[in-house]
Symmetry: C2
Subunit: 260 residues, 2 copies
């Protein structure tokens, strides 16, 4: 079984040209099959501001109305995705940029039933694993923008963490998968104020203990719940840490590795 790394990078890398270039250097050098999933960063917000489009927030969460969907499609699938692809090509890495609509890669449905109408936000139904597998087997490096479609002509804004997880789950039958969530910290920290207090490895029982001791709290809980959910659906391992340390993350020398 071939190994496959699915690496999600967040806005802190995308918004910083120098950091992004340094990350793409190390990403291009990662051995084996790989998929990059990128988020949005601040560019979409800036563009909306430039055009005088008000961001609608409900309970602190952004609503993807029709105008916002246009903006994120432009920025995520256009600017960010194609610049990453061109920069990877320059590094000898044969990248192909995709949204969920391309090749019907990720089919989703508009989120419904919630108390809040989030607008054109997609929850993932299926990943087209056979097609993605055939692309990976041709040594194509896939770069996903966080946009899916509903199969009826509607594009949908979709969380990049979720896309990375669904792709990892969908391809775990065919590949030995490693899912890397990069964020702005060195990993899961024993002391939130101390970047050197990274917990190297967390399994399910240790996770329960850390939650009880309130070492892990707030925003880290959904992240880790997602990681354990991924492991339960066949993903080989989940690593959380800084994108800049990607080689060390994949080698288990940096960040936090989540194991069942």
């Amino acid at each position: 079984m071939h190994s496959l790394s699915i690496i999600k990078i967040g806005g802190n890398i995308i918004d910083d040209e120098t950091k992004l270039a340094a990350f793409l250097d190390v990403f291009a050098a990662v051995e084996g099959k790989k998929i990059l999933v990128h988020g949005g960063g601040k560019l979409a917000t800036k563009l909306a501001e430039g055009l005088g489009i008000r961001q609608q927030l409900v309970d602190g969460r952004r609503i993807t109305d029709a105008e916002t969907l246009k903006i994120v499609t432009m920025v995520y699938a256009g600017t960010i995705n194609k610049n990453i692809v061109a920069q990877l090509q320059a590094r000898g890495c044969n990248a192909l940029g995709l949204t969920g609509a391309d090749g019907n890669a990720i089919l989703a449905h508009k989120r419904g039933g919630a108390a809040i109408d989030y607008g054109y936000v997609g929850d993932v139904d299926t990943v087209n694993a056979p097609w993605l597998t055939s692309l990976l087997e041709q040594d194509q490096v896939l770069v996903f923008a966080p946009i899916t479609h509903d199969g009826k002509g509607q594009l949908l804004n979709t969380n990049a963490d979720t896309i990375a997880q669904e792709i990892a789950r969908g391809l775990s039958g065919t590949f030995k998968t490693t899912l890397v969530y990069s964020f702005e910290k060195s990993g899961v920290l024993m002391d939130a104020e101390d970047e050197k207090s990274v917990i190297g490895k967390i399994d399910a029982s240790y996770y329960q203990e850390l939650k009880q001791r309130q070492v892990i709290f707030a925003g880290m809980i959904p992240k880790l719940d997602n990681a354990f959910a991924a492991l339960r659906s066949g993903v080989g391992s989940v690593i959380i840490g800084r994108a800049e340390e990607l080689p060390q993350l994949l080698a288990g020398k940096s960040g936090t590795t989540i194991v069942p």
Copy 2:
């Protein structure tokens, strides 16, 4: 040898939601292998105006400065490309949206040496025919945005007519190619004021005669010169006419067919 249709649609279709939907209905129904190349339309100009970015014109031609390149990448590769892909998927047509950077599909270089600096405008060097062939053989329908790259990380704005022609040339060794240029008229007209005066077929010697009689003049001359150049490099046939009449164009029942 399989047949392959390469169909270029212009701004008049892209700017009109109803026309575009009707075109995608007939495009989805076209039999055999097919590639769609779309231009930009007025959306890029509107977005630039909305953001207060001045379009630089030199001798009436638009200059692609860094800001304009960002705009066209957003609009062409983001908005237009992904909406067409999603709408084709809804019509059971397995579309994959591409720029020249994706899979190194079209390598270009920044235009240089001209008296005018057009900015980030690309002239095509090579089309990755083996890769495009392998995608077409998997029954993928390709949708190209008019953006290429230079292999060094730079995206480049590239004329959609040229992209369609270069793809047709590049794939003519493998497929029996038909290149369709759609525009706002029914075809090459004997009388520019009479849409019913379409000339059904033009070969090289008839073209010379029509030019001498000044039936063909101005903007039609580069279009037809390009068509004959395509035929000389192996393209099977070139058809010029209205996108809405695509089935009739491909059947030779409408528009102007250019033959050697």
